[in-house]
């Protein structure tokens, strides 16, 4: 390990940075999961960081000490290190250099880590889909589609308006069955339109707007890039990568409640007996089955 003129000095291999990285990761993960993981992470990061810096400082100190030897300074003497190990000193300038870098790093970390967390994390933390009352079951005649627009998250206001195509499938055994299809195109999220006559007339229930469709739609078409779907939301033409997303539902006190949205690769059959191939919600444009779905291995929490 003789540092020579041809090879610039690089720090020797060390495992400490790995520990430091693990600590930082634990710190960040802890911010999402639990605060004491963050504390443990911070402790690990500080401990390993200290060890790493100490190592580097030691190495630098060695080099500095070695350079003091005159035969190395003028470069003409024997290039081999003297047999006697030089004293392990920390050069003053090496110490100042490293502590400047270290303190600068601490300042940078103190400022940027919370700021980064503040910027990045909220988008991934507060996602929730409270069940929303769409009105009494009698508003949804069996076998008919009703274009239903509702404010999915009332505290957020009009910006959370969503539209779904709701069809009462009648009873499946003893349980009521509903089909609730989202109107966000599975290609890039444009608002799909039911391919039928949409009347101007609408009914209102609280914040929910209901437009019953007198003529059942033959499917849905996307106004942006030419996607076309059948009435169950299966892609029949154009670029959509999967079927239209759907909403889960529940019945409480004779009212229909819409729940969390989920993604659907395709649907076999129709109505109450349809077989729905269900996946966790994905962004439009993402394949959720087949080889292409390997491109999107991890979904952020929705």
């Amino acid at each position: 390990m003789e540092p020579s003129r041809e090879h610039p000095h690089v720090p020797g291999p060390s495992l400490w940075p790995v520990g430091l990285a693990v600590g930082v990761v634990a710190l960040l993960v802890g911010l999402i999961v639990n605060w004491w993981i963050s504390v443990a992470g911070a402790a690990i990061a500080i401990a390993f960081g200290f060890l790493w810096v100490r190592d580097i400082a030691r190495e630098r100190g060695l080099t500095k000490a070695g350079e003091v030897a005159p035969e190395r300074r003028n470069g003409r003497g024997p290039s081999r290190r003297p047999a006697v190990a030089p004293p392990r000193t920390y050069g003053r300038s090496a110490f100042l250099e490293l502590s400047t870098l270290g303190l600068g790093g601490v300042i940078g970390g103190l400022v940027s880590l919370p700021a980064l967390g503040f910027m990045l994390l909220p988008a991934f933390l507060k996602q929730k889909n409270p069940a929303h009352d769409l009105g009494p079951l009698t508003d949804f005649p069996q076998g008919e589609f009703v274009v239903t627009t509702f404010v999915s998250n009332p505290p957020e206001g009009q910006v959370s308006r969503r539209t779904a195509f709701v069809r009462n499938n009648g009873l499946l055994g003893t349980e009521p069955s509903f089909t609730i299809i989202s109107n966000h195109c599975a290609h890039l999220g444009c608002p799909v339109q039911p391919t039928t006559v949409v009347p101007k007339k609408s009914a209102q229930y609280k914040d929910v707007t209901l437009i019953p469709l007198p003529t059942p739609p033959s499917g849905y078409s996307c106004p942006c890039h030419g996607g076309a779907y059948d009435v169950e939301g299966n892609r029949i033409a154009g670029p959509p990568v999967r079927a239209l997303d759907r909403y889960s539902f529940s019945i409480r006190n004779g009212h229909l409640y819409v729940g969390a949205p989920f993604s659907v690769s395709h649907v076999v059959g129709s109505g109450a007996t349809a077989r729905i191939y269900k996946y966790t919600l994905a962004f439009p444009g993402e394949h959720i089955d087949g080889i292409e779905s390997w491109l999107y291995p991890i979904q952020p929490p929705h």
Partner: protein, 286 residues
């Protein structure tokens, strides 16, 4: 030899510096005069566009009410409307279009109309273009600058400009077979196909436009060609009869095995009869 080239171009650049020193002109006022005139033109154009936008918009410009209620009309001037309707995340009638300088990207997305190729249009091709653009000085290493001696570069530039132009134009004129838009063509269809007097056929034509038939079929130049669906402008010339058309609408696969058409059995008989009458009345305008 690479080294020769490096030495040579260093020499040329040194010569350039010397030439500029010896027989160049001072930036101010010679070149800067041109710059200032051009900047003035730019500012005048911008102010002019703003003024044209405002003063060619008819009526008073007080915007729309909340969520699409259009009590106050806002008409378009020469440069379009002063503002669109307020954002409505729950709309089912809006046709989104980007600003003109993203039309090329918009059209690129429309070109890749197979699910497996979506990622090429969204990420693949734009990334490749950006990387090529950044890497250009390291791809084109010759020092030749005269356009007449750079045929490859010039052809590439012309192709790039052409394809951007075509994509932008196609994006600007792109239309989808939407019920709300197609239904406006019904009177002209009736005139061309000569069934204006046939009330039943006109009603069928409206249904034809609204039920999304044009997502897959074409009719008198409207609609998309998808799933191998035939053009229906002259469907009636085959004289298959209304009963056949109704049976086919109800269950396309029963009449025509292997057909990929979706069944319209959910529709009331009244609608099916109107559609069938319309199809039989479409004789291709003869």
């Amino acid at each position: 030899m690479a080294e020769d080239r490096i030495v040579e171009r260093k020499r040329v650049f040194a010569q350039y510096k010397q030439d500029v020193k010896e027989r160049g002109k001072p930036f101010y006022p010679y070149a800067m005069f041109h710059d200032t005139v051009m900047s003035l033109v730019v500012v005048i154009v911008i102010v002019g566009l703003a003024a044209i936008w405002k003063f060619t918009t008819p009526g008073h410009h007080t915007g729309f009410g909340p969520h699409g209620s259009t009590d106050v009309p806002n008409q378009a001037g020469w440069l379009g409307k002063l503002y669109d309707q307020p954002a409505d995340p729950g709309t089912i009638s809006f046709v989104p279009r980007p600003d003109w300088y993203f039309y090329f990207l918009f059209q690129l997305l429309r070109i890749f109309k197979w699910p497996d190729s979506v990622i090429l249009g969204t990420v693949g091709i734009p990334t490749i273009c950006l990387v090529l653009l950044i890497a250009l000085p390291f791809i084109d290493l010759r020092s030749e600058r005269r356009p007449s001696r750079r045929p490859v570069a010039m052809v590439a530039a012309v192709l790039a400009v052409l394809s951007m132009g075509i994509l932008t134009y196609r994006g600007a004129t792109a239309k989808e077979a939407l019920a709300s838009e197609e239904v406006t063509h019904v009177p002209s269809w009736a005139a061309t196909e000569k069934f204006t007097k046939n009330k039943e056929a006109v009603a069928g034509a409206r249904l034809f436009a609204q039920l999304g038939c044009l997502n897959c079929h074409t009719y008198l130049g409207q609609g998309n060609h998808n799933l191998g669906a035939p053009d229906l402008s002259a469907e009636g010339a085959k004289n298959k009869g209304i009963a056949f058309q109704i049976a086919h609408l109800k269950c396309p696969q029963c009449v025509n095995p292997g057909s990929q058409m979706i069944p319209f059995a959910d529709q009331p008989t009244k609608n099916l009869t109107a559609l069938a009458t319309f199809l039989e009345a479409s004789k291709g305008g003869k």
